[in-house]
């Protein structure tokens, strides 16, 4: 009934006052990091050299043509040898089609989101640069069994449990 009698301003004032006693949602990035979603498509690819058979399915599905794979035949073992496995992350659109297509679960998207660099050439990752390591953890994208082992995503709703700084 009193909508037009200055009540709106009082409502607005009460909203800002309530915010004064809440924890700010801002994360101070370099010191505090949020855990990304378990199924995140981080900006890197992770390649498992043991499982890769060199079939080249990933290169065929890649809509950007950013995966370059060259193989030779190991006649005595009846297998491919991966001579060159190069991904130009500058072209990658993180669609995840290579991950879904790989028949041997040898390629994953990573969890990391801070892999920017100064030169475009550094975005081209070759064999050793693509392997899994402590900094390069595979994400659970298209791999529920990997997702199950990852820590849960940190939500801003949980910030209320933290303390003000």
């Amino acid at each position: 009934m009193f909508e037009h009698y200055g009540i709106g301003i009082i409502k607005g004032l009460s909203v800002t006052l309530r915010n004064l006693f809440r924890i700010p949602v801002t994360t101070q990035y370099p010191e505090q990091r949020l855990t990304p979603s378990r199924r995140t498509r981080g900006n890197e690819l992770i390649w498992n050299q043991q499982r890769c058979t060199g079939c080249g399915t990933c290169a065929k599905t890649c809509p950007q043509g950013s995966i370059d794979i060259v193989t030779s035949v190991k006649v005595e073992e009846n297998k491919y040898r991966v001579e060159k496995f190069e991904v130009d992350m500058g072209y990658c659109i993180f669609c995840g089609l290579c991950v879904e297509a790989c028949p041997y679960d040898a390629i994953f998207l990573g969890c990391s989101f801070e892999r920017s660099c100064y030169r475009r050439g550094e975005l081209v990752l070759a064999k050793e640069g693509l392997l899994e390591s402590a900094e390069r953890r595979p994400s659970g994208y298209a791999h529920p069994e990997v997702a199950a082992e990852l820590p849960a995503q940190s939500l801003l709703l949980d910030k209320d449990k933290g303390k003000r700084s």
Partner: protein, 362 residues
């Protein structure tokens, strides 16, 4: 000079008194402005669910120090087509009157530079001179945005001066004096209770006069870039920044003195009461700034002339009649009467200002 409430060993010499209080006022204004800048940025940030400056020192306390150092080291740029002399003079003209206002503000009983018997008139007269400096800045910069900002400032100050002064007259009538010292001494109960409508009008009008949000049209970042100080840099810009916050300090101090009972209060020492009340008023200013969106220029003018001005006149009339009819009645009796008057008037006048008001349907 009435120095009745000063400590007995206070130097009686005029020049000693002058020197001491000038230093006190300068230190008070500069330190409070720095504290206010920090406080405003932190409080506003938290109200907007952000953190605010928190890098320089504990809780970002040294942020204003870092800012002022930075601004002092910046190059002083004067536009080539500017009016050099006025461009240089404008920050000084804007800054000096703000400092001069504090000459009559009592920090505690008797602790003021000079107890003028026309204190309120002096405050009103001197604080308007700042507008002159701001208009000089806008004109001398030779920039259309700064001129527009300065024109808006002049327009808003001319319009809001009237309701502000009229709402102060109610207080003067109640106290029977123009001296700020005696007004505080007359406040057996804070005048905010006796003059609620006067307080409201004065507070809103003062916000418009010092160009704080929601009336910060003259430096509306989104349309005028920065208004009158767009062509200022370095120390001159710092002076304008100082003026902006010192004006907020003036409003907080005047509201404290005239409506909140000045230094009076139980238990705590009187100067601490004064500082606490000033801080509380400044918090409300920040609070309003975080909450309320900026008004348009036509809304600004209409609000001054159609709402504040008639309400201030009615408030003055009601107060005068009350004092004339019940000269000996206790102030406590006026509290419910004046609150009722305020509620009725605000409800009546808010009918004129509703959502979508002023919109033109084509």
């Amino acid at each position: 000079m009435a120095m009745a409430m000063l400590p007995p060993d206070w130097p009686g010499n005029f020049w000693a008194h002058w020197a001491i209080f000038t230093v006190i006022i300068l230190a008070f204004v500069l330190l409070s402005v720095m504290a206010f800048i920090w406080f405003e940025r932190r409080a506003m940030a938290i109200m907007q669910s952000r953190l605010g400056p928190n890098r320089a020192g504990p809780f970002g306390l040294f942020q204003p120090v870092a800012d002022s150092l930075k601004v002092m080291l910046k190059e002083d740029i004067v536009p080539s087509r500017a009016d050099k002399l006025i461009h240089w003079l404008a920050p000084v003209v804007a800054f000096a009157p703000v400092m001069m206002v504090f000459a009559v503000v009592p920090f505690r009983g008797g602790a003021l530079l000079v107890d003028l018997n026309v204190g309120v008139l002096y405050v009103v007269a001197i604080s308007s001179v700042t507008t002159m400096g701001i208009f000089m800045a806008g004109w001398a910069s030779n920039n259309k945005y700064s001129l527009l900002g300065a024109m808006r400032q002049v327009a808003s100050v001319v319009s809001y001066e009237i309701p502000v002064v009229l709402s102060l007259v109610g207080v003067v009538l109640l106290a029977g004096s123009l001296s700020l010292q005696q007004i505080v001494q007359a406040q057996e109960i804070p005048f905010i209770l006796v003059q609620p409508l006067g307080f409201l009008l004065f507070f809103i009008g003062a916000l418009a006069e010092i160009n704080r949000a929601p009336f910060d049209l003259m430096e509306a970042d989104s349309e005028l870039v920065a208004g009158f100080h767009i062509e200022y840099s370095g120390m001159k810009f710092a002076l304008f920044y100082l003026v902006e916050y010192a004006e907020a300090l003036v409003v907080a101090a005047i509201v404290t003195t005239l409506f909140l009972g000045g230094w009076r209060g139980p238990l705590l020492p009187d100067w601490l009461w004064f500082l606490l009340k000033v801080g509380a008023v400044f918090f409300v200013i920040v609070w309003v700034r975080t909450t309320v969106p900026r008004v348009r220029i036509d809304q600004l003018m209409a609000f001054a002339w159609k709402c504040l001005f008639p309400l201030a006149l009615i408030n003055l009339l009601v107060t005068a009649v009350e004092i004339l009819v019940w000269p000996d009645v206790s102030l406590w009796l006026l509290v419910p009467v004046n609150f009722a008057v305020m509620i009725v008037l605000v409800l009546l006048w808010s009918k004129l200002f509703k959502l979508g008001w002023g919109r033109v349907n084509v």
